[in-house]
Amino acid sequence: MSHVKKFVARNAVPILFAIVCLLGVYYAKMPGQFLFMEIVKRMARNSFLVLSLIIPVVAGMGLNFGIVLGALAGQIALILSTHWEWAGIGGLALTALLATPMAVVFGMLAGTVLNKAKGREMITSMVMGFFANGIYQFVFLFLVGTVIPFENEALRISTSPGLRNTVNLSRIRGALDNIWTIQYGFTKIPIVTFLIIALLAIAIWAFFKTKLGQDFRAVGQDRHIAGVAGIQTDRNRVLAIVFSTVLAAWGQIIFLQNIGTLNTYNSHEQVGTFAIAALLIGGASVTRATIGQALMGTFLFHLLFVVSPSAGQAIFGSAQVGEYFRVFVAYGIIAISLALHAWRSKSLVKASMEEDVSA
């Protein structure tokens, strides 16, 4: 019995969301086939991005809202690859290769900035995401076509500066998903995409068994003790952000090859928020995140996303209510998790202070 209690206490958030999702599924009355298709599609699209958040959490830097920077690196590579007309899986692999050095540089910059803002990494990484977005828009909305010569009908309208609002990624659409699919009902299950996600999950698991991975964990648990033990904490923190940024860049490329269209100026805006909300719904916290939580969270969050408009229609007579509800859930779960984390760490500090006094 106490076993069950412990399980429920430890997984309160995912259980709560599973119940909400079940209610949503019940009221939405969607055909099972359709629901399955949507979930498979969204899991394939988003799991990689959510997994990219795990390493910084373990390294004690909280939720990395700065994965937006990685997503931007991925998009810049996609813009270039469209320009050079790279196609197919080879083109996609080249795009990922092209995105990597950019993501490494962005990650190093981000990690260096975050080292100057210890204890407030999350807000700093969030603002950094907004800032990077501004720079990205400045480059691709203004400099391209005016300062940077760039002529390509597919990407620009020659009469005005800046890239088109939407870029058709037809050459690499489904390049990864369609290599090998298994048909189940209406649903084409993209096996290779899921294999890559599984590979990443295993790689992250294996990484934490290595010396470097253990160092990250030590830094995450206590920066000062890790420092005393001879671990270069600042360097490790930068590395953690670099890993996360590179993974996010690849994740965004996988995401966009599935969608097939790049919304030049807003494909990346919600990347951080939605990935973080998914991770937290899976039961992760600011200081603890596992692969299982990331995948579970992606599943629950996107199930909620799919069913909420229809459920809103059925319960409140308005699909709009459902759409606003899911955004509210995304923001709300982040707010609650952050508050709970701050609350707990504050009472921990208090407890240790009282101990000091009594000792």
Partner: protein, 348 residues
Amino acid sequence: MKDRLIKIYHGFGLPRLIISVFLLALIIVAAGTDLSVPGLLSDSLVRIGQNGIYVLAMIPSIQAGAGLNFGLPVGVIAGMVGVLVSMENSLMGFGGFLVALLVAIPLGTIAGYLYSLLLNRVAGQEMMVGTYVGFSVVAGMCIFWLMAPFSNPALIWPVGGQGLRVTLTLVDTFGGTLNNFLAFQIFGLTVPTGLLLFYALLAFLLWLFLRSKPGVAMEVVGRNPRFAVASGLNINSYRSVGIVLSTVLAAIGYVVYAQSFGFAQLYNGPLMTAFPAVAAVLIGGASTREAKVVNAIIGVILFQTLLTVAMPVTNQLVEGNISEIARVIVSNGMILYALTRVTGGEQA
């Protein structure tokens, strides 16, 4: 002489100097084109008065030790409800404006108090928690706007009989009431006297409060909590005072903003309100731990004038709307700069 110049420079600070010089350059460029400089400055005056109160709202929360108030939308929403109640009853002119304030202020007080109870429990992480509480409140209110019991046909969608519209115009009710009060023209420059007077009044009242006994106590709580406890001050209640004050100012700020802007934008409209205000107070020379009323005033003047002048001037030089992008880069760059400066304690 040299020492004095250096002293003035240190008092004014490098970021402000750079922005002032840049602003001056923009105005000179504007004078060279066929843009009307007085027209640009008139627009700037309106935007300063329109956004000034949001920036003032940052002061009490910083002084009380709760950092920059990223949860500004909590107060803004209270202001929105005030504006909507007044519009629902088709109140016009000053009557409409006052009723909006009379509804917004108590609502802002209640919301601010609840918000402060949360922030007191998450001391040290106020900014991050505040940001997402603000976002959640805005998203949650989207559902409220859809189902809210308003029935004035000017406010709701023409079909269905329920749900507020996305953008409401205040032209027929109390739009511009404050701006047009005693407005006059000088050298082609239109001065929105009522708006600026109202802003000055609030700034003065806030300045007065910070010098009163509770204001000083609040500052002590923010600056040095241990000393405050030793002096017998209740930390949480003074922090609450600062947060409530900040939220109420945000609520008043929205009512003033809406009457000046002439439109009320519901749903996701208020999502990012906190960021320009945060940036402005930082540009004015505040830090995450210390802010004066004068920081808010200098900040909003520099930031809003920059945005107002930059857009038409750059439009003359390049195509497209660079103002929005400039706003994003300048404001977030400024916030980033403030967050990465060494401030002693760890705070988010």
